[in-house]
Each structure stands twice: as C-alpha cells, then as structure tokens.
C-alpha cells in the first residue's frame, strides 16, 4: 500500500471542514447511500468536500483502515468520523447535524458553503 495515498486521505480528513468519501461525484452519484449522505449534508448547508473512491480501490481500503468504518459513504466533520448515510440522515432529521456543524465550524458556516471535489487518483 502506498503511504503517500494514506497521507493524502488523512490530509483531506484533517483539513477539510466537511469531507464526504463517496461513490461517484456530486454531479454523478453512483450509489444510493452516497446520495443520501450528500443530501443530508446539503440540507444542513454544509460546505462539503467530496472524494470519489471509485477510481482506485486502494482509496477505500486505506480509508477504512484509517477510520475503522467498512462501508462507503463516510462523513467527517473537522476530522471526526460522523458515520455513513444512516447516521447522517438521522442527525439531519433531529437537527443534531446542524448543531455539530455550527459547533465545529462556527455559527456562520452556511455562509461558507462552497463545494469542492478532491481527486486522489
């Protein structure tokens, strides 16, 4: 395994305010669960940085080794694993997601809602 890839994944987790590792891209989502996680984050106004895991199976392997979470999607806020699509939806429905975003990024986080896509391969 490439330690360089691992470092780049860790870098995204550590430095992007909200990171979503997903199958596909926001314009072309390739999996229902990735869509659910993306919708939950967008609904909460999160500035999402997405990483498509499909181009290289090593991304997913390295990511799961880091997070201890076996499936895609995976949502991180300020470096903390929030969970997959089910937890993202659950937290969005209860308002907890917005509280977490506000706590981690500051109450004005919606004003910074830009969406980025990182390419790791």
């Amino acid at each position: 395994m490439s330690t360089e890839l691992k470092d780049r994944i860790q870098d995204v987790i550590d430095h992007e305010p909200v990171a979503l590792f997903m199958k596909g891209t926001p314009d072309l989502v390739m999996c229902g669960n990735s869509q659910r996680a993306l919708d939950a984050l967008r609904g909460a106004g999160a500035p999402v940085t997405t990483v498509n895991v499909l181009p290289d199976p090593a991304i997913r392997q390295e990511l799961s080794a880091i997070s201890g979470w076996p499936t895609i999607p995976q949502v991180f806020i300020k470096g903390e694993l929030i969970g997959g699509a089910d937890i993202a939806e659950e937290l969005a429905a209860s308002g907890e997601l917005e509280r977490k975003l506000s706590e981690a990024l500051g109450p004005d986080y919606r004003g910074r809602a830009v969406q980025k896509t990182e390419f790791l391969s």
């Binding site: 999996c31 669960n33 979470w69 076996p70 929030i82 969970g83 997959g84």
Partner: protein, 74 residues
Amino acid sequence: MERLEALLRDAFPEASDLRVVDRTGTGDHFHVLVRDDGFDGLSLVEQHKLVYAALAEPLRDGTIHELRITTKGS
C-alpha cells in the same frame, strides 16, 4: 437473511428488538434494526461499528451489497 439474523443474535444476545429486512427482495440489500440496552452511552458511530463487526463476514464475502443500520438504546 437467516444467516444475518443468527450473526446478530450471537453478537447481541440481549437485544430487545432485532430485525433484518430484505429491502429489495433480492437478498443483498438489507436494513438491520437492533435495539439493545448495551448501546446506552455509546455514540452512533460506536453502535454502528458493533453491527458492522457482527456482520463482517457477509460484508466481506459480498453477501451484503448494501446495508442500512438503525440502532437504539433502551
């Protein structure tokens, strides 16, 4: 489906509710629900990781193509 239920029963013998739903009728898209007092005090991430651990084998061998998880404490 029986296999998933058996694995979950083994992992959560005290569960007060435990259900496996075949969402698509195709035997590979599942929704599992587990209600267990043991979840009290754990984060949702920790709760879901316990379910993933219980189902590690069918996740790895491809039996489970897609998994939705709902966990509840007492």
